[in-house]
């Protein structure tokens, strides 16, 4: 009996710890007061509406969106062939390749950001947007490779041989029987990559330049000058967007099987 109570207590604390902040942010964003505070002073939608009127949020949201979409696409275009090669062939440097591809997960973002800044942006004079795009692609690549690998490992390789014996070429077999069967894995990787990129702070922090900021960075710098609840309102909106994406993914793709 006692241990049962303890279980519930621990569970409640964990849940509180995990989703408590979310409710605080939502409440703070719906505040009618002038500054960011909890508990909120009254209830209103004025800060939610304000979010859509701040120009820099609109610009950084567009940049973050573009980075997330195109960075994830690029990561998949690189990642699917890598995952395929790792799954199907005994590559001489297979393990090394796997490690290199996983590195961005293991190495702290701050280091990746600093390294890219110091050795790519500064000496080579690369455009900030290009550097951000490259960095996000590199960060998403490990997730893409892992998730697609998982669905490739569930797929027997002899269906490709069967397709070849029925007249398909090797690439034809890939497009006709491999790709359709790892479709949901690719979509899962896309969503995971999208969210990872969209929420990315440390790398973007180093690479963001004058006038070029991703949304999370923009929100931080906004907070530094203006301490009003609009940031909380925006954060709540983004959280709902993420929840919606994951919900749709789970509903239609069984997303949780892949992560």
């Amino acid at each position: 009996m006692n241990s049962r109570w303890l279980q519930y207590l621990v569970l409640t604390l964990v849940m509180l710890f995990l989703i408590g902040p979310f409710f605080i942010i939502v409440a703070a964003g719906l505040s009618a007061g002038e500054s960011l505070a909890f508990p909120p002073q009254g209830l209103s939608f004025r800060w939610v509406i304000k979010v859509f009127q701040i120009d820099s949020f609109r610009e950084s949201f567009a940049l973050s969106m573009a980075l997330a979409v195109f960075g994830t696409l690029a990561a998949l275009i690189l990642g699917v062939p890598i995952a395929y090669a790792l799954a199907r062939y005994k590559l001489p440097f297979g393990e090394t390749l796997r490690t290199i591809v996983s590195a961005p997960i293991i190495v702290p973002g701050i280091i990746v950001g600093l390294a890219l800044l110091r050795y790519l942006v500064v000496p080579l004079d690369v455009e900030v947007v290009t550097a951000l795009f490259a960095a996000h692609t590199a960060l998403i690549l490990p997730y893409a490779v892992r998730v697609v690998s998982a669905s490739l490992n569930n797929l027997r390789s002899d269906i490709e041989e069967a397709a070849v014996l029925l007249g398909a070429s090797r690439p034809g077999a890939f497009f006709r029987v491999v790709l359709p069967n790892i479709r949901s894995g690719i979509l899962a990787a896309f969503i995971l990559g999208f969210v990872t990129s969209f929420n990315q702070v440390p790398v973007s922090l180093f690479l963001s330049g004058p006038g070029v900021r991703t949304l999370p960075i923009d929100m931080i710098s906004y907070l530094e000058t203006t301490y009003d609840p609009s940031v909380a309102a925006l954060a709540a909106l983004l959280a709902f967007l993420s929840i919606a994406i994951v919900f749709v993914a789970e509903r239609f793709l069984g997303f949780s099987r892949y992560v």
């Binding site: 797929l155 027997r156 269906i159 041989e161 069967a162 397709a163 070849v164 014996l165 029925l166 069967n181």
Partner: protein, 350 residues
């Protein structure tokens, strides 16, 4: 047509390890050939080489008077039914069967007609719209068979087609395969490690061991007159002895030892000067009379027969005796005989 498919000193390897060495085989058109042998002896490897899924190290493969050794697998007109069926999980039964026909760019009516035909040959007409995951193992197997059949291949290869099915389905699929083969006149090679399957299905059996052929023959030849120790062992000749200097010796001791008997060579399967060993089935061994002494060390009732194990100067001897006769108790000494007219001469003891 004879020599429809020819393998000429075919050698196959995975990296440095040789899986199949200088294999020679010739298959006639319309023949049903079984590759029989224990797991790992190179059966699948040979099939994959015929299909072109595996490069040949050396040697040639000829099919229908054409050298296909270097021909890519998708141009060979060779069909294959995989051990795991290898159905395309995202396609329905119909779409699976139509896959190859669509790649051939046949017109739609032709495809529909051949798919319907193919599915009815394997008795799956009403399952056309199902997905592979909604079918039993036996039904999936039939889809895989239909998918290969509709392509009208020159040779159909089947890798352990029955091993994943339960006993009853296996019997059913066995007669199904025979029926399909008679109906279509297709040249077929199937792989199995089950001698009963090979004996009951094949026109000709190729017994393989460690990457080479031990013996090729009709089921009767393989079963009654195995040529080597390996084949004899495989088809149930449990008593195998070496012959040396017209002496019968324990199987693994063909140079010396205490020579218990002078051998006269038997006549059942023809004698040859190169006879290296003799083999008897347990049922051929006579207990209670004969020239050899032995001691009963094992004795088990097995329905119609009683199975004995004897300790003898020739090593262990197995004998099956009509169970209605009185039993010899374990530990008793008996005389036994190895009748030469029931012996099978072996040309190789390795």
């Amino acid at each position: 047509m004879s020599d429809f498919l020819q393998l000429e000193s075919l050698t196959l390897a995975y990296g440095k390890s040789i899986a199949v060495e200088s294999l020679n085989l010739s298959v006639n058109q319309g023949e049903l050939v079984a590759f029989l042998g224990p797991s790992g002896c190179g059966k699948s490897t040979t099939l994959r080489a015929i299909a072109g899924l595996m490069k040949t190290r050396s040697g040639h493969i000829r099919l229908d008077a054409e050298d296909i050794t270097r021909k890519p697998p998708n141009k060979r007109d060779v069909g294959m039914v995989f051990q795991s069926y290898a159905l395309f999980p995202h396609l329905s039964v119909t779409e699976n069967v139509a896959f190859g026909l669509r790649l051939k760019r046949l017109d739609k009516q032709d495809i529909d007609k051949r798919v319907t035909e193919g599915l009815s040959i394997v008795g799956l007409g009403e399952f056309a719209r199902r997905m592979p995951a909604e079918l039993s193992g036996g039904q999936q197997q039939r889809v895989a068979l239909a998918r290969a059949l509709v392509m009208d291949p020159k040779v159909l290869l089947l890798d352990e087609p029955l091993s994943n099915l339960d006993a009853r389905l296996r019997l059913e699929m066995r007669s199904e395969l025979q029926r399909v083969q008679q109906q279509t006149g297709l040249t077929m090679i199937f792989v199995t490690h089950d001698q009963v399957e090979a004996l009951s299905l094949a026109d000709r059996i190729v017994v393989m061991n460690k990457g080479s052929i031990e013996q090729i023959g009709s089921p009767e030849e393989i079963y009654n007159c195995p040529a080597t120790r390996f084949v004899a062992d495989f088809v149930g000749f449990e008593n195998i002895f070496a012959v040396h200097d017209r002496q019968l010796l324990p199987a693994d001791d063909n140079v010396g030892g205490d020579k218990p008997h002078s051998a006269r060579l038997p006549l059942t399967c023809g004698t040859a000067p190169d006879t290296r060993g003799l083999a008897w089935r347990p049922a051929s061994v006579v207990l209670g009379s004969g020239n050899y002494p032995g001691t009963i060390v094992g004795n088990a009732f097995a329905g119609t027969v009683r199975e004995y194990l004897l300790q003898t100067a020739l090593g262990p001897v197995r004998a099956d005796v009509n169970a209605e006769l009185p039993a010899y108790p374990t530990g008793s000494d008996v005389m036994f005989d190895l009748p030469f007219d029931k012996a099978v001469p072996l040309s190789s003891m390795s």
